[in-house]
Amino acid sequence: MLIEFEVIERARKGDEAAFSQIVAAYRKRILGTISRLIGYPEDVEDVGQEVFVRLYYSLDQLRTPEVFEPWMYRLTVNAAYDYMRRRKRRRESRMSDLSEQQVMMADAVAGGKEREEEVRRAGIREFVQSLLGGISEDDRALLILKEVEGLSLKEMEQIYKVNESALKVRLFRARQRVLKAYEASRVAADEPSMKDPQAMKDAKE
């Protein structure tokens, strides 16, 4: 826990200073989780604020401060889902946009080593996002929370409100789907690609 139960209890009773303390303690972590869930850095702060607005208006429904963190993750995942659904709806209008990697590539032409490093990272981000793009939002959130955020099954049980064995089955299936996409991408990588070969190679190595 990044904050004491007593602060959560005070915030639950409507203390705005206590709520600000919670936001200050959790915002960085929540923004990180959101950025890995949605994959669009420009919208991370917006989704993060939505999470805290929802927290503010639902804090009185929190049964005990002990379950605060899973509760917070649940709100984060839900806000990320909502964002992804909205994004999917307006995706068509943005199909002509340059991908993040292409933009970084363009910047890198004029930049030095730092830029190159950023291009490499952007390549990894884009590759993972493309893998995750092939699976459902549920599977995507599940895998990110488990594999990237490093949450335990116990913590995930509290977030998803399902038992461990059900969670394991869902995780197994989600992993299989990503593995399949990963294998397929490796096969495709052997073929000539239109994208930047160096960044893609870095991502897959």
Binding site: V23, L31, G32, V148, V178
Partner: protein, 109 residues
């Protein structure tokens, strides 16, 4: 499969490194409070609108019911007959029945 699984596990780690927790902008907190206030205002507006809607609906309903029922209420007399009709119809006996012994029946006392 194990080969790909281990590669994928490594990829998750690299993804984690490639996506560090972003630093919130200085505008994060002020913007957040603005949104909280805006949501509160929106909720109040919705509640007020609902209340107004309920009032208007009730008033319209009352008006319609009154308009429809008024002619019927006006036609409907309060009494079915006049006082004289009631008196005429009543079977009054003018004679006092005197029982032997001078007793008067209870209902005539």
């Amino acid at each position: 499969m194990d080969y790909f699984e281990s590669k994928l596990a490594a990829l998750w780690m690299r993804y984690r490194e490639a996506c560090p927790d972003p630093e919130p902008s200085p505008e994060f907190m002020p913007e957040l409070w603005k949104r909280i206030e805006a949501r509160r205002q929106a909720t109040l507006n919705v509640l007020f609108r609902r209340w107004v809607e309920v009032c208007v609906f009730t008033a319209v309903l009352a008006l319609v019911v009154t308009t429809l029922m008024a002619p019927r209420w006006q036609r409907m007399p309060v009494y079915q007959s006049t006082y004289l009709d009631v008196l005429t119809a009543a079977d009054f006996s003018d004679e006092v029945v005197v029982l032997p012994g001078g007793e008067v029946p209870g209902d005539l006392q």
